[in-house]
Amino acid sequence: MKVNLLYFGRPREYLKLAGETAELSANAATVADLLASLRTRGGDWAHELEETRVRCSVNQELCPLTAPLHDGDEVAIFSPISGG
């Protein structure tokens, strides 16, 4: 399945990427699985996408890393929010 990935905050700066379309294996059932898969790219990816460093939303709703993924989801990966 495919998801539309967006990056914000620290990962967006350090990975030098605002977004991408990710093709996931059927095993990547949750955001945590997606992160694990992205970390295999190594280097900054392994470091910046550690579970304790990131938060996520699926289809523009904040959710835990255990949130399930479905084909076509808009998934955003970001550092802890700090607005206001």
Partner: protein, 155 residues
């Protein structure tokens, strides 16, 4: 209820006047303005960069305002959040509420700020002489937001 996310500054006076005019029979107006502080834990702040998630940020603020309206009797609400590069003492955010009574206006204004801090997708990167840092969510903000949790709402 009106929300703006903008790079430009805002005029508190004009916003309050507009809110007052639009809020018929209001007895209480409360405003909050957040400013860039010039000192942080990392030292003297040179500037901050405010990033947001276009689409989701508006939606998240809208959800917070809907929830505030369901909890309190409000005659008007205005939220403005700036994005982009800001300098010390610049205005970052404004929340203004109008109600017949001050209890509702105060509670709603605080509630909106507490939820905005913890559930609206904005990020701050602070620049000091030591470099740049993406700020973390403050534990005190999380604690403040949790005060408002009621059974059955906003999980």
């Amino acid at each position: 209820m009106s929300i703006s996310i903008q790079t430009g500054d805002f005029d508190l006076a004009a916003e309050m006047q507009a809110l007052r005019t639009a809020s018929v029979n209001a007895g209480a107006l409360v405003s909050f303005v957040g400013l860039v502080r010039d000192m942080s834990n990392a030292g003297k702040v040179e500037n901050i960069l405010l990033e947001h998630y276009p689409g989701m940020s508006e939606k998240a603020l809208q959800n917070i305002l809907v929830e505030a309206n369901s909890r309190w009797q409000l005659l008007g609400v205005r939220v403005i959040h700036r994005v982009g590069e800001l300098r010390p003492n610049d205005q970052i955010v404004m929340v203004a509420t109008a109600s017949a009574h001050r209890a509702d206006a105060f509670a709603a204004c605080e509630f909106i700020m507490d939820y905005l801090k913890t559930s609206a997708p904005f990020w701050k990167r602070e620049q000091t002489a030591g470099g740049t840092t993406w700020l973390d969510t403050k534990a005190s903000d999380v604690a403040r937001a949790e005060r408002w949790i009621q059974q059955g709402d906003m999980e």
